[in-house]
Symmetry: D2
Subunit: 332 residues, 4 copies
């Protein structure tokens, strides 16, 4: 950490600051220029409150030199992490094609869609049983029953299942779920993250509505520091002043997260755009940007879907998209 | 709900849509213009997925006419709600002055600050025991011990206490807490909101980092629809591209929330700005905008605070501010 | 335009509004429901101030039905516009590869880079002569001299040239420039747009820093309504709370603009990201999203570039990228 | 400027960088830690491209130490600037009450409103003659004729006039205008700023839609570096994801700009909110935050205003507000 002092600071005040920093167990390297002094702090600066120091009267500015994320940092783990979900691998050149409806509605629906997306080329099934909804009056999901239907679909097709967990007290219901999804609104529900860190199950961590890449990585760090290294990051669109699309898909996050971290990065073009006909070009773009997988909403009857039908592809549209995705992957 | 069809839609497709809408139990009022047809949907349109309809090929646009929030809607409850916390009232002309440190650090600290802020004019004490931090390596609060220290401060000063709850499983620890705070990152942790709706305790609900006013009100609605009407809304700054201040304090939210809802609205200028010297002008501004209270960080030794020291006022600065706040309140 | 009145409005007030609307020359179609009245306005509603009506006491809400952009609207011009720049075509399946340095620095530099990018596969040359810079103390471009050097590079290589015009009074200097660029900061400099609308030259219109797609189209409309239909839209990243990248490249804009308008849409991944090593994946992604061209910064010596060197590719990096772009284009 | 090198950089590469920096005329102060080297650059670092250095392989990070704005920087000019407009002073404790219609519509209207706002307590008149509108089909202002009507209102009431200039070629028309306004969309129209810098007239510089405080100050710097020190900064709301209000009024900008700069700061609550009934509380809040003046839209017949009627106060509402503003000013 670098602390730049203001011009011509009184020596007494300067020394007080240096003593206080040393009192926190830090080494302080002092570099004095013509009119400016720069302090280099050495040691466990993760505990130092940069904002506090920045607010001191004699301090001009503060800059952290080292990253505060460790477990997920590529610097300390140069090879790509490959998350294994049954036979399916994600990351390190392995591509996940996750598809399914926004909500599980009944057994027939989810088993039918599972068959369809498998035939189309998906290697994992998604479907919401516990649904976070902005309004308490909107459909909240079939919950435990929905999980049962998902398991039936898994049994029928062999596809591993991905579904969202909203409350750690429901964990026992998720025993047969293959990947636990942490939704956008819970990205910084730190208690949930810590407890998921103790499960050992793969976690699909969605980026929060307006969170930075660093915050996403710090949330992954919560899971990993609790002992679970199977984290899949997911870009799903951020909130801006967008007028025609629901959110703004931030595809720059894909190469940037790959540079910062060894974790696999997948993309959700369905929630990012909210419009089914924009999903295919964004799925193609995400693939070309180098993502490790796509999670896409597919419904056999979007017009009657209980939620988010507007953004769902039909199975044949998905099948056509899968072919194009494969072709793009061959190019890059 | 108003559905505007595209120009010159085929009659057959139009009738299919109308039949489908009627099949959902809705009344459909058809208004045919020269080239355009407008459908007015009557009945429980809260269940209708506007985005889905909007995505249909023959639909030009959809507009909801009625608000989807009910319990917190001023239309159905014109008088201001007054939340009572012991002898302290908030809303309907009653002003809450909540003050205290970001984190409870030890008994001496919190009792000392409680005395100081009471003497300065505060009528409620804040202090974090469970701390949501972006990094798992940052100080996470004294937890249960912190709550004990808060209670000691309450015993000593008589000030009711406000503190954040992050996990519903900790609820039993909060028996003697007067106001439960839902933090920014949990504004859409719907399971937590529902369970807090069953407690009957006053809830201080902070606006999420990038949430709209409607989303804030819908989260209040989760608590109220579960049976708890004691909700205090809190504006605490939103995330933008701000360069010098941590967040952007959205004071327009104060009159707008008052117009939309009967719930009291307080403001947190400390987290909104992140800079202690900007807190007083923003506290004054919030008061002039008509808020029902202020929650402000005060620390007797900001330079050694375990978190957010940079944004804390000293007790004498707070006392000076309280006087000015009172003078502004007399004017408006 | 649809005007929804509040419940149980007094008939007299309702009639006053209707008379006032008719007084503006509009037809008013009245549709009365059980408790709600909806007015459909017919005629030239482009002149009606929707916000004003929305603010009237008896009005619940207002919705525009028809788009306010006409010249650039795909509804009225279903086929793709193809802009021709010498032998180069953009749009309707024709792809523009525009490359060159951020700033023209001297004749040798720009001629050298022009040769390099032509050899690499570019079909147009970019280079800034008039440079908009946030600070008045930063390098502002070589201006007229820079234009001369650009023309020399065109003469040498045959590549048409694209360069920014900031001030309409400089127009006479741009006689031999093939495409006039309107920069991000001038997207809503309406006087400039109107005057460029009278030139007949192809205009490359960059999206403003925080402008919506509708605003971008309305700015194109300014140019087109003044008589110039040769407009190329350019997505170049929008301002958000991004932490590692300079801006957020909004690739959803590509399919969405194609749906709304017949104009060609190109993408600038260099300014959007600000980091040279993120440019290739974003260029690939933009291509996969269906854009009609790419404008990319290339410099033969990024370390000594006078501006924006950090985001420039070297010629050999650009050549490698061009090959990949072509492969992606064959797939889609 | 501080350049932090990566751990264990090769000495040769390190020396190349140092030589290159010295080649730019900079002094380089080298500070070597255990594993890290920090370079302090001394001299005219305003010309150094921080992003370029940041992108070099051996560089960990770069931090500017000195501010790049000079003329408007409070560090170099500690006393408040007081801008004089006829007898009216702005800044340094002097408060401007600027009021008037969005657009000048006819002589009777502007003279009438001028009388009304003067009687209500305004000390300056605003009114748009040249109107920047998103759509080319919206009313663009009465232009030169509008300026004539404004002058008539000035003659009648003695109120100095403030009006927007969009095009430097219109400058001669503005001879009798007292304050030239640069609108939101032109905040970074640098050519316009430079030319206004040569006029000597007071300039009211509005913050751009999504511009940072630093960018606003740099634009003021353009005007001041060209020789005109009479700049008034204006906060008028920034673009976010706001759902009920048009923009988000950023009142934190008021104390922050006062800290960074000696220039007066006024606030426009009308454009910031877009809703007349939210204007008074925001005007009060801005005053309490310490602004040096308010620019407020007032219209004697908002329902028939040609633009932005929805956000205009009536003269009696404005008069009531002026009284409250004065009372707040007495408190602070």
């Amino acid at each position: 950490m670098i602390v730049v002092l203001k011009n011509n600071v009184e020596e007494e005040k300067r020394n007080q600051l240096i003593d206080w920093l040393k009192g926190m167990g830090l080494g302080v390297h002092i570099s004095t220029g013509e009119s400016q002094t720069v302090l280099g702090l050495i040691g466990d600066t993760g505990k130092v409150d940069a904002e506090l120091i920045d607010s001191l009267e004699i301090v001009e500015s503060v800059k952290r030199v080292s990253e505060t994320f460790k477990c997920c940092n590529r610097k300390f783990h140069p090879e790509d992490t490959v998350v294994e979900v049954g036979d399916v691998k994600i990351g390190g050149g392995n591509f996940a094609m996750i598809a399914g409806p926004c909500s599980v509605e009944n057994e027939e629906q989810i088993v039918g869609i599972a068959r369809d997306v498998k035939a189309a080329g998906a290697n994992m099934l998604r479907g919401g049983a516990f649904k976070p909804r902005t309004s308490p009056y909107d459909f909240q999901g079939l919950k435990a029953t929905g999980l049962e239907f998902l398991k039936a679909a898994k049994q029928e097709t062999g596809l591993p299942i991905v579904t969202e967990i909203m409350n750690i007290n429901d964990l026992s219901l998720f025993d047969d779920v293959d990947v636990l999804q942490v939704g956008t609104r819970n990205m910084q529900n730190f208690d949930l993250l810590k407890e998921l860190g103790q499960t050992g199950k793969p976690i699909l961590l969605k980026r929060g509505l307006a969170n930075t890449l660093k915050e996403l990585l710090m949330s992954a760090e919560y899971i990993m520091a609790s002992g679970n290294e199977n984290v899949i990051l997911c870009e799903r669109g951020i909130r801006t002043y967008s007028d025609y699309l629901r959110n703004t898909l931030d595809l720059g996050a894909v190469p940037m997260l790959h540079e910062l971290s060894h974790l696999p990065v997948i993309v959700d073009p369905s929630h990012a755009t909210g419009i089914a006909r924009v999903v295919p070009p964004m799925a193609m773009a995400a693939t070309a940007a180098g993502c490790d997988g796509l999670i896409i909403e597919v419904h056999n009857d979007p017009a009657h879907a209980l939620c988010d039908g507007a953004q769902s592809l039909k199975p044949d549209e998905y099948a056509a998209l899968v072919k194009k995705i494969k072709a793009v992957r061959e190019v890059i």
